[in-house]
């Protein structure tokens, strides 16, 4: 050891009076401080203010008055729209998430094989995800025109009289689900890369053992990509419960709230009716619902999600 190094170390140690581990800890906090500050300022503080506001009658202008659990009680017992909106949101999430996931899985399996024009097909599948939702909404309004829209014209070829879609209380949520399925490309791309990441030797070994296409898919591909499926499932559930743009652009919640969902309803309460306190309570109810469902899905993951590096106990 050279003398200068040891002097240097002693010198630094005496100047700062800090142990190496303390310095490292400090450095760690300095490095992640942008994230922590961002989290506190943009997430934690607004979250807790909204939790506080959910117990008040704040109208976004005047001093908030404490109303205890009043807003929550109103939502659960007195607001006839709340249950309708909640049911709509569940309906949308329960159908759109699994269907989108299954379609993405099917498409990604097809598109991960080698064939001519593979890139073109991948692009086509992904293109809808690049279309801004406002434009997509307009396209869908046209596609779903009741009298002479392409969708109903197609149904007409099979002798089916198509519904009025966006104007029909029974068909408006399926129409919004269609729009979400149309944008399945993002999830598909993730799954394609997951499938491509599966080691080739697994397939080779299985093929030597005489496995067919189905066997290869269900015994190798599927288990190997479950982490990505799991990721898509969780983000899909969260996204579905927070659906906003589709509703806002296509129907504004109509007809007669048949397609009204939680987040647009929260927005209306807060920014149209000036019931900021009530809107905060609704936001927290939704938050709890999403947390519970996410936790349940997380819990279930032990049973079906396979991590290669993990040793099952």
């Amino acid at each position: 050891m050279s003398i200068s190094a040891s002097i240097g170390r002693r010198h630094r140690g005496s100047r700062r009076g800090m142990k190496r581990s303390t310095r490292e800890t400090l450095f760690f906090y300095v490095c992640i401080s942008p994230w922590i500050i961002g989290f506190v300022v943009f997430t934690a503080v607004p979250m807790f203010s909204s939790l506080y506001l959910s117990f008040t009658d704040w109208d976004s202008f005047q001093k908030p008055n404490w109303v205890g659990l009043g807003n929550y009680a109103k939502a659960l017992t007195a607001d006839p729209l709340f249950w309708k909106v909640l049911r709509n949101t569940f309906y949308y999430a329960i159908v759109s998430v699994p269907v989108s996931l299954l379609i993405a899985l099917y498409l990604s399996n097809l598109l991960s094989h080698d064939f001519r024009g593979k890139r073109i097909y991948r692009t086509i599948i992904y293109l809808p995800s690049l279309v801004p939702l406002v434009a997509a909404g307009l396209i869908f309004k046209w596609l779903l025109k009741p009298e002479d829209g392409p969708v109903n014209a197609l149904l007409g070829l099979f002798g089916i009289k198509g519904p009025a879609w966006l104007l029909d209380a029974n068909w408006v949520i399926p129409a919004i689900i269609l729009l979400s399925i149309w944008q399945v490309g993002g999830g598909t791309i993730l799954l394609i890369s997951a499938i491509n990441g599966v080691p080739k030797e697994l397939y080779e070994a299985a093929e030597i053992d005489g496995a067919g296409h189905y066997r290869l898919f269900w015994s190798i591909t599927f288990p190997m990509i479950t982490p990505i499926l799991f990721f898509n499932l969780v983000t899909g559930i969260i996204g579905a419960f927070q659906v906003f743009d589709q509703v806002y652009i296509l129907t504004q919640g109509g007809p007669d709230n048949a397609s009204q969902m939680m987040v647009p309803y929260i927005y209306t309460s807060a920014f149209k009716d000036f019931h900021m306190g009530y809107a905060s309570a609704l936001a927290w109810i939704l938050f709890v619902i999403i947390m519970v469902i996410s936790a349940a899905v997380l819990k279930s993951s032990d049973a079906w999600v396979f991590y290669e590096s993990e040793v099952k106990k």
């Binding site: 909204s50 007669d256 009716d273 938050f287 996410s294 936790a295």
Partner: protein, 421 residues
């Protein structure tokens, strides 16, 4: 390791789930970006709105060189942004407002302008006075106020041999003539007489013309009154019995203004703004005051300039507002063809009636003559809930899936609940 991973994931989920909804609600307003003693004036609209207001402010500057005003033009989500500025304690000093005004005035957010505009009814008309008065006090300085008029396609009228529409028409004349203006080919309608949609200015006008109301004098909802049922029945019959105006399912991706511009409807009742949209229309068209029912009732499209009660320069702000709504301060509105000035003297001035942009010789007196026929809709603090209750209740009626009375009963019930707080 596994449990740590799980906790981390749960935390991330929590953040993901909450960020977009919770933070958007509680996010506080940013600063208004103004210098220390600069007044801030906010407006919405398009480029032309911005240009005209800048012109007016430069006139104001000549008169009040010591009151600097900064124009803050908010192109998108005006209402939400204004609301956030107020919540954050940094509201603009002067702000353009319309339907929302009493949601703000009733909560003490706007300055009382009653004594600054002692002759508001004389100078701006009775409807403007009613619209901007809440509990006996005036909160808005009327700025732009064009009554709705009938835009009509002269070519279609000439071809059908129907006299041009006017305020002399009553509902019977309207229906008789409308039936002559419809064109059908192979069972499909290719040309309608007229078109409406879910908008207060349309459905409330039928109601008011039939002597109906939404709220009675004490502010109680009277949505399902016999007059209203009759009015809405007439409107529903126009779609489903006489088929002279399109049903909602026939125009899901279109609307009244585009249909008229495409020459697919003979008439359109809308605002001043449609003049510039029709600049390149391939047919001859004119404007006329609206028909009447048992009563005369014409909707008016209005906006006002208001002053924030929290403004630190309230007196200066009021001076500017008074100037901008004076005959002189309103002139650029008329000259640019942006709108009809709310100031009656400005609207009667040559700069409006003989405006240089009016090259087609449009009868602009259709607007000025209509002013005295306008009605004030029930602009209470709950206005947005009123229009929502009407849309929710009536949408299935307009879609032909529910009778008129059921729809109005639904709206009545929703409103009773909403206003009973």
């Amino acid at each position: 390791m596994r449990s740590w991973k799980k906790k981390g994931l749960t935390a991330i989920l929590a953040v993901l789930a909450s960020v977009s909804m919770v933070s958007s609600l509680a996010a506080c307003g940013g600063s208004n970006g103004a210098g220390k003693d600069e007044l801030v004036l906010t407006i919405w609209g398009g480029d032309i709105d911005k240009r005209v207001m800048q012109k007016r402010l430069s006139l104001a500057k000549k008169k009040y060189p010591n009151i600097p005003v900064k124009l803050q033009y908010i192109a998108k989500d005006y209402d939400t942004k204004i609301q956030t500025m107020f919540s954050g304690g940094t509201p603009p000093d002067i702000l353009e407002m319309a339907d929302n005004i009493n949601a703000y005035s009733s909560r003490g957010q706007l300055a009382d302008l009653t004594s600054d505009f002692p002759n508001v009814a004389r100078d701006y008309g009775k409807t403007n006075q009613k619209i901007y008065t809440y509990k006996g006090k005036l909160y808005g300085a009327p700025d732009r106020a064009a009554p709705a008029v009938i835009f009509y396609n002269k070519d279609i009228f000439d071809a059908a041999g129907v006299e041009y529409p006017s305020e002399k028409w009553d509902w019977n004349t309207f229906l008789t003539n409308a039936q002559k203006l419809v064109k059908r080919e192979n069972g499909k309608t290719t040309q309608w007489a007229y078109c409406e949609g879910d908008w207060w200015a349309w459905y409330m006008t039928w109601i008011y013309q039939n002597g109906g109301r939404i709220l009675d004098k004490d502010g109680k909802p009277v949505v399902n009154s016999p007059e209203n049922v009759e009015a809405m029945q007439f409107y529903q019959d126009l779609m489903y019995k006489y088929e002279v105006i399109p049903k909602p399912q026939e125009i899901t991706d279109s609307g009244a203004d585009p249909l008229f511009a495409q020459g697919k409807t003979a008439m359109n009742v809308t605002g001043f703004w449609d003049i510039s949209s029709l600049k390149d229309a391939k047919f001859n068209w004119g404007v006329a005051p609206l028909w009447h029912g048992k009563k005369t009732a014409v909707p008016m499209f209005f906006n006002a300039l208001t002053v924030s009660s929290q403004s630190k320069h309230k007196d200066d702000a009021i001076k500017i507002v008074k100037y901008l709504t004076s005959k002189e301060g309103q002139r650029p509105i008329a000259e640019s063809g942006l709108d009809m000035p709310a100031n009656l003297a400005a609207a009667k001035d040559k700069s409006f009636t003989q405006a240089s942009w009016n090259k087609n010789g449009l009868d602009l007196t259709a607007f000025t003559r209509s002013t005295s026929m306008t009605y004030a809709p029930p602009l209470t603090p709950e206005w947005s809930q009123i229009t929502k209750a009407m849309s929710d209740g009536m949408s299935q009626t307009w879609n032909g899936k529910q009778d008129v009375k059921t729809g109005l009963d639904k709206a009545q019930k929703t409103l009773e609940q909403a206003l009973n707080k």
